[in-house]
Structure formats: structure tokens, C-alpha cells
């Protein structure tokens, strides 16, 4: 036990260790952040193509989107990462962070698309009918009626996806990238520390704290969006 506390003191009093952890954390967050941007952007497009009224213009895009989500969701993330690193971007000197961001972004897009699609489809069709019966355009109906209601259904699941991506980036250590997960392993295996438990628990706390903060923010947003659902009088 004494040894355990000594290791804690050692970890937090050695600037190189703290530096490694922070660098690892920064890389983790960079990959997650940019991957989620790509994921939400691309996922929204895929979802809109998927729920749009069928027409001959959209037949091929719809088909491509369906294939895309099926393939991405049907294969392991780690394998997709390997394919990106060792096949598609196996270019000497190509920055590995970009490869990782693209790999996670393309993966997240498929899941985000499902989340957004589900959110849109869960809006009562009667809401769209009301807009149609008033002679409103499909665009107005989407932006004024369907989207605001869909967002309420989307936010909680999207929060989940954000959390998943942050944690899943840990597998970049498999291709030798120095993320938070890798930093913990690196510190623990060093000759001076020679113990995994403290650095790994510390890394776990970093993940946990980040995800706790995100959960908190998502809950706040959810609550403010539910305003119009309250049965009590609203002013």
C-alpha cells in the first residue's frame, strides 16, 4: 500500500510523466473532436438522403448511403483503422493524426447517420401533414417543424456517440500513436515507474472526468430542449 502511494507521488511529481499524460490526452481529444465534426457533418447528409422522399435522382445516393452504413457498422473499428493506416494512407510521411481522424470520422458518420435518421423518423407524421395541409413547402416543414422536434430525440443518442468515439480512440495505440491510453502504458512500463496500476488508473480518471463533463452538458441541453413538452403552463 505504501508503495502505491509512493507511485502516486512519483507520477504527479515527475514533470515528464505529467507531460506524457497531457500530450496523450491532447491527442485523444484532437482525434475525437475532429472525427466527431466529420461524423456529424457526413452523418447528417447520409441521414437526410436516407429519409428524403424517394425519387429517381436519389435512388443511387440512397443505395450508396445504405451500403456505406452497412459496411461501416458491420466491420470492427480496429480493422477499419488498420485498413486506413496500412492500405489507404500507407504513404510515407503522411501524418498519422490525419489518418486516425479520417478513420474515426468515417466510422462515426455511419452511427451518427442512424441516430439522426431515427430522430427524424420518430417525429409524428401528423406534424408533417399539418404543414403540408397548410400549403407549406417541404423545406419550411423540415426546418420549422420536423428538425426542432427531431433534435430532442437526437441529442441524447448523439451524446452517447460522442462518448463512444472518445473512448474508442484508445485503439490508436495499436498503430503506435501516443494517445492517453498509450501514455499510461508507456509510463507504466518505464524502468523508473515499473508499475502499471497508477498511470493506468490516472488515465482512467482523465477519460472518466471528460466523459462525466460531456454527459453533464448533454443533460443540460436536453433539459432546455424539453421546454415545450412540459404540460404545465409555459410563458
Amino acid at each position: 500500500m505504501n508503495n502505491f502511494f509512493n507511485k502516486i507521488v512519483e507520477l504527479f511529481s515527475t514533470p515528464e510523466y505529467i507531460d506524457s499524460l497531457l500530450h496523450g490526452f491532447l491527442l485523444t481529444m484532437q482525434i475525437a473532436y475532429f472525427a466527431l465534426l466529420i461524423g456529424i457533418f457526413l452523418g447528417t447528409i447520409i441521414a437526410l438522403v436516407d429519409v428524403a422522399k424517394p425519387s429517381k435522382w436519389l435512388a443511387i445516393p440512397k443505395f450508396i448511403c445504405r451500403i456505406y452504413t452497412t459496411v461501416i457498422r458491420g466491420t470492427p473499428m480496429a480493422l477499419q483503422l488498420f485498413i486506413m493506416f496500412f492500405v489507404i494512407f500507407a504513404i510515407k510521411g503522411f501524418p498519422s493524426i490525419i489518418t486516425a481522424i479520417i478513420a474515426f470520422g468515417l466510422n462515426s458518420a455511419a452511427y451518427t447517420a442512424e441516430v439522426i435518421r431515427g430522430g427524424i423518423l420518430s417525429v409524428d407524421p401528423g406534424q408533417t401533414e399539418a404543414g403540408l395541409a397548410l400549403g407549406l413547402s417541404r423545406l419550411t416543414i423540415f426546418f420549422k417543424i420536423v428538425a426542432p422536434q427531431a433534435i430532442k430525440n437526437i441529442i441524447p443518442a448523439l451524446g452517447n456517440e460522442i462518448i463512444t468515439v472518445i473512448k474508442e480512440t484508445a485503439i490508436v495505440s495499436m498503430v503506435g500513436m501516443y494517445d492517453l491510453n498509450m501514455a499510461a502504458k508507456d509510463i507504466g512500463s518505464g524502468q523508473n515507474m515499473a508499475s502499471y496500476i497508477v498511470p493506468m488508473f490516472t488515465a482512467a480518471l482523465f477519460y472518466l472526468a471528460t466523459i462525466y463533463l460531456i454527459t453533464f452538458i448533454v443533460k443540460k441541453i436536453e433539459k432546455s430542449l424539453r421546454k415545450s413538452d412540459l404540460r404545465a403552463e409555459n410563458k
Binding site: 401533414e129 403540408l132 397548410l134 400549403g135 420549422k144 403552463e233
Partner: protein, 243 residues
């Protein structure tokens, strides 16, 4: 009644997959008429009504509104002139009552916001719901929602109003409130088509009764003639059950 024809329907058919719901309906609606559509459940009466403003796109047949063939191109203009009231009200959940009412007139550039809000306030006062202007639909009762849905349809001053079972989802007390608004619209000369199960209301308000069964008009006529001396055995059987 100055007898201008609002709607002409020619050989209307609607199928859902293999299910033939409307099997060739010819129909005319004159200005000022109050047509009540009766029929057993599953007869296609709601589908018929919903085909008139293309809530359901007809499989075949033609609809003329104000003498113009209704197509995918002019349907939005047509819908602005044919209001619809739904069984489940369909107020927009994320908008307040006020926003529900002013949305279409403003978006369709028929009124400036100020004028639309003034009109909304007048109509809300008229139905006794002024205090609900800033409430969300979730805080209203079914009867309140339906009365607001009716004035929402009226905001665009349509030539025809379609009612799709407007009281079927309401408690008995609210039914009276909703029916009295419909009655008032009828008294003011509004052209109305209504699908309902309220037989006594149908008798009172209708200028013509249309009976639909298996996707066809079986019989139509004035309420007096329809209820006292039905011509077909199918209608006799129906009336025996419901009266």
C-alpha cells in the same frame, strides 16, 4: 348558395399496395355545400377526403379545384385554399399556439407578422382561448387543441374546409365545443366536407349526405331523404345499426 363549383372529382382511385381503397369515385362539390361523408369503418371515407388535397396522392383519376386540374405543381396553392382539420389535431408541438397560427400566413407571405398576430388574437378571443396564446400544445386539452386547429385552418381564409373525424379523439364534453365552432362556420356559409360518426350532428348540419362503402359512393342525397327513406339495402342496414 351562388352555385359556383369548388371541386370536381373524376374516377378517383387510390390503392395502397394491393389494397384497393378508393374504387372510382365521381363527385362534385358546390360552393356553400355542407357535405357529410358517412360509411362503415374501413370504407375509404377518410382516404377519399385525404385524396382531395393530396394528403394521399391519388393513384388515378382527376381532381379539379376552381376549374383547374390539381397536379404536383399547383398542389401547394390548392392546399392554401382547402383547409384541413385532422382527427388528432396535429398542432405543431414545438410551437406555441400563437406560432402555430401565424406560421402559415407569414411563411406564405399572405400577412405581415403584426397583422397575423392581430388576427390570431381575434380568433382566439372568439373561441374563448385568449389566455392560451403563449402555451404549448402539450399543456392543452384535446378539445382546446381541436378548436385551435380549426382556427389555424381558417387563418388562410380557405374556400373549402375538410374535417377528418374531428371529434373522434375527444371526450364527450369537448365534442360539443368543437361541433359548435363547425356549426358556426357552416352558418357563415363556409363550404365544408366532413367525415364523422356523429350521426345527429350530420343530420343537423349536412346539406348533403354521401355514403361510401368499399371505396365507392353507394348513395347520396339530402339528409331528410337519406335518413327517412334510404334507397339501398346497404344504407338501410347501416342506419339500422347506428340510429
Amino acid at each position: 348558395m351562388n352555385g359556383e363549383t369548388e371541386l370536381i372529382i373524376k374516377n378517383l382511385r387510390k390503392t395502397f399496395g394491393k389494397n384497393k381503397v378508393i374504387n372510382g369515385i365521381d363527385f362534385k362539390l358546390e360552393e356553400g355545400e355542407r357535405v357529410v361523408i358517412l360509411g362503415p369503418s374501413g370504407s375509404g371515407k377518410s382516404t377519399f377526403l385525404r385524396c382531395l388535397n393530396w394528403m394521399e396522392e391519388p393513384t388515378s383519376g382527376e381532381i379539379f379545384f376552381d376549374g383547374q386540374l390539381v397536379t404536383g405543381k399547383n398542389i401547394r396553392k390548392v392546399r392554401q385554399n382547402i383547409g384541413m382539420v385532422f382527427q388528432h389535431f396535429n398542432l405543431i408541438n414545438n410551437l406555441t399556439v400563437m406560432e402555430n397560427l401565424v406560421l402559415a400566413p407569414i411563411k406564405l407571405k399572405m400577412m405581415k407578422r403584426e397583422r397575423a398576430e392581430r388576427r390570431t388574437k381575434e380568433l382566439l378571443r372568439h373561441i374563448g382561448l385568449s389566455s392560451k396564446a403563449n402555451s404549448y400544445p402539450a399543456s392543452l386539452s384535446g378539445g382546446q387543441k381541436q378548436r385551435i386547429a380549426i382556427i389555424r385552418a381558417m387563418m388562410l381564409s380557405p374556400e373549402v374546409l375538410l374535417f377528418d373525424e374531428p371529434t373522434s379523439a375527444l371526450d364527450p364534453e369537448s365534442i360539443g365545443d368543437v361541433l359548435s365552432i363547425i356549426r358556426e362556420l357552416a352558418d357563415n356559409g363556409m363550404t365544408i366536407m366532413i367525415v364523422t360518426h356523429e350521426i345527429s350532428f350530420a343530420k343537423e348540419i349536412a346539406s348533403r349526405i354521401v355514403f361510401i362503402d368499399k371505396g365507392k359512393i353507394i348513395e347520396e342525397g339530402s339528409p331528410e331523404q337519406f335518413f327517412s327513406s334510404p334507397k339501398t339495402p346497404r344504407v338501410k342496414e347501416f342506419l339500422d345499426k347506428v340510429l
